[in-house]
């Protein structure tokens, strides 16, 4: 069954643009064979009791998995300490952190079913002269991680491409 939907809107309507600052990006790299390391990672994640803002996994090659997530900048040291407790000096999973970083998040009606959302989001970032560190688009949610100081620069370009439900 296929449903044809028509959205007569320009710019694209959203439910709002949410921005977050003082965040850290954590990057872990491992191979699918590192199951034991993954178990230890879960112990560290459990003990850290961290909540993520966005989590993204990619597999650049069959032997290389890259997991990245964004968490509170003030709590990342604790996570890294727990990682060190679990892994010692082996440097397994090659943990790296980047921060502070900023995050924009927005969603809109049926975003997962509609073309043009990513094009508009990346066009706004490009026009603002910024670079996206990490992004995840799934279901109706869009997350873009940007270098610190980017979100305010982005806002005027953002409103060219997306409609916010209220002025803020």
């Amino acid at each position: 069954l296929e449903v044809i939907a028509v959205y007569s809107e320009s710019p694209i309507k959203t439910y709002g643009l949410h921005q977050f600052s003082n965040l850290a990006l954590v990057r872990l790299e491992y191979s699918p064979d590192q199951t034991c390391e993954s178990e230890s990672l879960i112990k560290a994640l459990n003990e850290a009791d961290l909540k993520y803002q966005v989590a993204v996994q990619q597999m650049p090659t069959p032997s290389r998995i890259v997991l990245q997530f964004v968490v509170d900048y003030n709590r990342v040291d604790r996570f890294m300490d727990l990682m060190a407790d679990q892994f010692g000096r082996k440097q397994a999973l090659s943990p790296q952190t980047l921060g502070p970083v900023e995050l924009v998040h927005f969603s809109g009606p049926h975003f997962g079913d509609r073309y043009g959302v990513a094009a508009a989001a990346f066009a706004a970032v490009e026009e603002a002269g910024l670079a996206v560190v990490l992004s995840g688009f799934s279901a109706s949610s869009v997350y873009m991680v940007l270098p610190v100081g980017s979100v305010e620069k982005l806002r005027p370009y953002w409103t060219k491409h997306f409609e916010l439900p209220f002025k803020s």
């Binding site: 959205y7 879960i42 850290a48 009791d49 890259v66 997991l67 968490v71 990513a118 990490l134 799934s138």
Partner: protein
């Protein structure tokens, strides 16, 4: 990714500890008929905004997208409807250099778990469940309350079975298996 063409990683599955306390999961959503494409940004002759703009002009929806890295180390991973695959590859090849500048898995499904409450434990447990069972996850991303995994379609049943060692899954009758595809048609040309 050619080695992952059937979504099964090499090696033996790791014995699963069934005594662990499982995390209660509210729901599962499964969507089929997607193709997965991955490109290193270094092989693109244009920026991602240009590539995504060209896809939008052809009314091609990116049902799932992740991008990472800056400049030369970047990676774009996305899913399109299998009906849009030919058009997508034509655009990718026109905007990238080299022979076959992308990795392609022609028949993937999206498996979403919810609610995750943004807990990293959900991410770790699900990835470990897949790793232990040698199920290749091409990509994953979070949304407001869900985690979505891109998996080989033939591995979906095995993936759900794998998750059951870490999660208390809802009854099968409450799984959402997408049978309706919403397609947007153009009334306004994208910029």
């Amino acid at each position: 990714l050619t080695a992952l063409a059937h979504g099964k990683l090499a090696g033996e599955a790791t014995p699963v500890n069934t005594d662990r306390v499982r995390i209660k999961l509210g729901g599962l959503k499964i969507s089929h008929r997607f193709a997965f494409i991955q490109i290193a940004t270094a092989s693109l002759t244009v920026g991602p905004e240009r590539l995504f703009g060209l896809l939008a002009q052809q009314q091609i929806n990116l049902a799932f997208l992740t991008t990472s890295g800056l400049a030369s180390d970047g990676q774009l991973s996305f899913c399109v409807d299998t009906d849009d695959l030919t058009g997508t590859l034509a655009i990718v090849e026109s905007e990238a250099c080299g022979h076959r500048p992308y990795d392609l898995v022609a028949d993937v499904s999206l498996l979403s778990l919810y609610p995750t409450k943004s807990r990293l434990t959900f991410v770790g447990c699900s990835l470990l469940a897949f790793t232990q069972n040698r199920i290749g996850v091409y990509a994953a991303s979070s949304s407001i309350s869900a985690l979505t995994f891109v998996l080989d379609r033939s591995q979906i049943a095995g993936a759900i079975e794998a998750l059951s060692s870490f999660f208390e899954l809802p009854g099968r009758s409450s799984w959402l298996e997408e049978s309706t595809r919403i397609k947007q048609i153009d009334t306004i040309k994208p910029e």
